[in-house]
């Protein structure tokens, strides 16, 4: 649905996005993670035909972002939630959505239906005639998401949808995105929030001008650090340690207090046999746990590496 190849954007001497190559499938929720000024917003702006590319290729469906004629078609098929909600504060929620529905050429009857459906879904139908300026930040964000969906777009670009929101409002917005995910919308989500990305996205790309990593959250978590199995014992004996070292599936063993920290590629497959081996060596197992590297570990490591390059 979204495809880029060596997409690059420069502002004078500054490269905002460099050789970005990625593919987002239809119905996928793709998260774009990166620090400030990593090029996330610039990428979304290029994909929404708001700014031009310096070089490379980018397509939404069959349309090319650099063709004037295709840009109107792209804008019609994508929904865009910018970082700042940008609603008209002196107009009602209904009037805001109606205005955008008209610009997106949604027929009158359909437009009325969509506004009602979205505002009811977001729980603000009863306040549809209130001025947007009277709403809380979270509610404004919800109205802005409704605005992005008013024309039933095939692709939705969300730029920092929960930035500056309190935890409750953030949760409401995240729950709404999860609903959209169930409805198989293709969503391109820019975020700083690692937890959000992990919960919502099928795949994540980490961007620091260049794309440094891409994959499913669990793949990324495993990509840098092996998963670790921790065996808590009554006491760690030399016999137990030796038996574990001889166990083929274990790549390394570390002893910490009365725990053994083991590096393994496939703990689900090998842990039952490992437990039997330790018991056979006279070990008294209290319990077995897993130590996962988090998306945060991966993100911070990759970003630090990118900074030093």
């Amino acid at each position: 649905m979204i495809e880029t190849e060596n997409l690059t954007r420069k502002f004078g001497g500054l490269t905002a996005v460099e050789n970005l190559t990625l593919r987002v499938e239809e119905g996928e929720v793709f998260g774009f993670l990166g620090p400030n000024a990593a090029g996330k917003t610039t990428t979304v702006r290029m994909l929404c035909c708001l700014i031009s590319k310096t070089s490379g290729e980018a397509r939404i469906g069959d349309y090319h972002v650099d063709r004037e004629a295709d840009c109107l078609a792209i804008r019609k098929m994508v929904g865009f939630l910018p970082e700042n909600v940008g609603l008209y504060e002196n107009l009602s929620a209904y009037r805001n959505l109606d205005f955008y529905g008209k610009l997106y050429e949604v027929p009158d009857e359909k437009r009325r239906e969509n506004i009602e459906r979205l505002l009811k879904l977001l729980g603000i139908w009863d306040r549809r005639n209130d001025n947007v300026g009277d709403f809380s930040k979270g509610t404004k964000q919800k109205i802005a998401i409704a605005r992005a969906l008013i024309h039933e777009p095939k692709v939705l670009f969300l730029d920092e949808p929960t930035a500056n929101l309190d935890p409750e409002a953030s949760k409401t917005v995240r729950d709404f995105v999860l609903e959209l995910k169930k409805e198989k919308h293709t969503i391109f989500l820019n975020t700083h929030n690692l937890d959000e990305a992990e919960k919502l996205c099928d795949r994540i790309g980490i961007l620091k001008t260049r794309l440094i990593a891409v994959g499913a959250p669990t793949e990324l978590e495993r990509s840098l650090y092996n998963r670790k199995t921790i065996v808590h014992l009554q006491a760690v004996t030399a016999q137990v340690t030796e038996a574990v070292k001889q166990f083929n599936a274990v790549k390394s063993v570390r002893e910490v207090d009365n725990k053994l920290v083991l590096d393994m590629d496939h703990p689900e497959r090998d842990n039952p046999e490992l437990v039997r081996t330790i018991v056979a060596a006279g070990g008294d197992i209290q319990y077995v746990t897993e130590l996962k590297s988090t998306l945060e570990d991966v993100y911070l490591k990759l970003i630090r590496e990118a900074k030093t390059q």
Binding site: I51, K76, P82, N84, N90, R95, R147
Partner: protein, 250 residues
Amino acid sequence: MRFAKSWIVATKDLSVFKKNRYILYSLIGLPLLMGILIPGILIFSLQAESAGLTQAQLTETANMLINLFTAYFVIIAAVLPTIIASYSFVGEKLEKSLEPLLATPTTDSELLFGKSLAAFIPCVGATYIGTAIFVVIVDVWSFTELGVLLMPNPYWAIIIGAVTPLACVLSVEANVIISSRVNDIRAAQQIGGLVILPLLLVMILASTSQIFPLVTLALIVSGALAVADLALFYLAKATFKREEILTKWK
């Protein structure tokens, strides 16, 4: 360019203006004030000067003053857009509503035309209402005192029919360009106000000049304004581009 798209943008802007008291009071107040104040001054001056004048001399003086004061309505038509257009463009910048607007399937020209239309319609409309009040008051006085209707006259018709809307367009276009460089509504209004200075000078020179007959002069000013409008239109169009707005508008 699809006019329907521009009209959607214009009607939205007009809804926003309706809810802005500052804009509303300016639109009603300034033309109303001028519509009453100018004929008031005119009538007061004529009453004061009337002693010793024949009816023909009084009519001639009245016509001269009417032509002089008519120019003020051009100034109103140029001043009002500095209030409205600055809200229209800088206001969108301040509300950060330009980006979602630019993401819609509309062309740059449709957006620019729609926003310009939203500034133009109320300004010219309000000016015409002020002018209508002016005409009614002057005609009531002239018919009562002189037994003739002094207005409308050919000079007034050209000034109100051509020069006023052209001056309004000039001011709107200038404000688009100014809005791309400033972030503050008051700054936009103050800089926009400078646009009317050369216009004011031209109008005073035109109405007091003896070089050309007034009607000829009004036609020359109309032509000059039309050329200036066209030049500024291309400049405004070059300024109002998505990429420029998102990356360069400060």
